[in-house]
Symmetry: none
Subunit: 208 residues, 4 copies
């Protein structure tokens, strides 16, 4: 019965794919929910059940998709960072001068976090807890390196004066973080473009 067999095979494959898609959907629903509630109350003050409630599912269902509360956090982080990386590298393609590139880099990050403000808060609280510190540090380090690279390219191209780059990289990240936080709290009255301009100005003034 080759025909029958083939049909059944095909349909079982189809079912499998659909199942996987559903599972992926659920996972991302849970991640989204987690971002919301972790951010609202912090990681430690959020019960696994709160995440489930926010996702509109039962407590137990969480554990069908993740091994632990911690694993949910990690997945959420991973998810957001991948998105951010992609967004930044995409936007940077259309920028050439160091100043432009810096503006794009800073502005994109601010937009992203502004849209995902809660996630940002979550990283800022959870990421400071002992067992997550390394992971968070690595993520930030990566961004600093990107800024430094951007500056060094500017120096090589003669756009910027020869000066040590390292501290400026960190400073830019510090400023982005602060502004993000205030924006999330509704305490930043300026626009993202203004902030990006401000930070870029400050950073590049160092190289004049």
């Amino acid at each position: 019965m080759p025909a029958v067999t083939k049909t059944s095979r095909t349909s079982s494959r189809l079912r499998l794919r659909r199942r996987r898609e559903r599972a992926d959907l659920r996972r991302s629903e849970i991640i989204t929910a987690a971002l919301t509630v972790f951010a609202k109350h912090g990681f430690a003050n959020t019960r696994a059940e709160d995440v489930a409630e926010q996702a509109g599912i039962a407590k137990g269902t969480l554990y069908l998709y993740f091994d632990s509360k911690e694993a949910i956090y990690e997945a959420a982080l991973e998810y957001a960072m991948t998105q951010l990386r992609e967004l930044v590298s995409e936007r940077l393609q259309s920028a050439t001068t160091a100043a432009e590139r810096m503006r794009v880099f800073v502005g994109t990050r601010m937009e992203f976090w502004s849209a995902q403000g809660e996630l940002y808060q979550m990283i800022m609280t959870v990421g400071r807890e002992k067992h997550q510190k390394k992971r968070t540090a690595k993520i930030i380090r990566e961004s600093v390196d990107q800024i430094n690279l951007l500056l060094r390219e500017g120096i090589e191209r003669g756009e910027l004066r020869e000066r040590p780059v390292e501290m400026v990289g960190w400073a830019v990240m510090d400023l982005i973080r602060g502004m993000n936080e205030r924006r999330v709290d509704g305490a930043q009255p300026t626009t993202i473009a203004q902030d990006a301009e401000f930070i870029t100005g400050i950073a590049l003034s160092y190289f004049r």
Copy 2:
């Protein structure tokens, strides 16, 4: 029996005062202990018993001096901030120009937190939790105002060019925070003086 009455009154007042002094002593011992252990493991991961142990007293004794674990945190924060305020205002008295004053302001804060690094960590983690956010925000706001005042005085005295001051205040606080964190983590290779110079330079370059 007036004589007796008087004597007894006096001695009872004396006893009362001594009692209060003893109580204040105990309170500050607990606060010191709390700063140490909260900072080492964060607020949520520290048990009330850990605080008691560090203070060399029994668990139950904590509750004779504070209403709750939370109250201990608040007292610790209050205490540290008062100390910082006093230190900064004392040091500022010997500084006159805006640049000097900024250097002193930044440097003093960095020294203070560097000596109390753990406390700083604590504020950074606990302070971001919802129910503490307002309190933390107020504390930071206060510092920003101080920087802004300092800058405006510089403008009035003609040392700095007329420019909006607000964003720079926040920026300075953001930079101080970042450097503090990295220093606590052992990730800041520069000296406090260098950092203070760097921040001051960046901030004042905005007014040239």
Copy 3:
């Protein structure tokens, strides 16, 4: 439409019978699987899903054939005991003297459990839990009665001396159990035949 009716009746009966056969098959597949996994990890430490997996079906399917995990256990027990009963009575037919019959009885039981070692373990753990105790006790009681009967026949036939029989019946069961357990654990260095001989010898020595 009698013809049609008849045809349809017949075919529906046929279908019904086939359905029942299929259901019985499934039930016994599940039982077999249950014996394997319950025995390997005990009743409490085995999840319904483990049984399903072993049976190569889905979790939910279990509940089409059994009301509960407990019901599966009971069915498995019933099944095994029926098998054992049949095996023993078959083998006993070729044995005549009390000694022979005892040897066969003991030996057959040991062989059976040895082949189904895991099941034996399961009964020994699960069967001791309160709600299963009565059932297990009844099963053992049945065996004891069989031994006692066997002994009384020996007495009647003059092969054995007149002595009370009851305690020996229990003793034989106790000894079988112990040796079974040790064999399952790999701690019994002797053969089944030797064990059967040992137990028979001890039991019958009581009647000399």
Copy 4:
């Protein structure tokens, strides 16, 4: 103030001792309670809270005295086995011939378990669970060795005929276990003395 110091030291020592005594008392209360309820429903089917309830304390209090539910079980086992060992070795001192010694050994064990029937049940259920098997096996092995020693001494003294001893040791333990179980269940109509006599008779008949 040596006198004062001394007094205070003494009283603090006293307090310490009393505290330890109280703690020991609590521990044994918990152990007793655990024996009761574990035995009644088995280890897996008993919630930690049931133990606490039986002991007349709160759930959390358990964990002041034991690290885990499992630790309670182990302590209970340890406790009982120590008691049994002591009791048996004490009673054996007054017995000389192999027959007497066997009777004492068997009888003492039966008395002990009969008084602590629930504990016995517990060991029989919990002890068969995978992760406890080794511990239980070791305990039984110890007893078998004792019986074997007892028999070998009898052989050496010429009271018993030279025969292999090992299987009899196990058999005696099997018989004791069975009778114990039935007595706990109220299904053993004979007295302990009668049972001990029966087992001794059977065991020694092997050496005639």
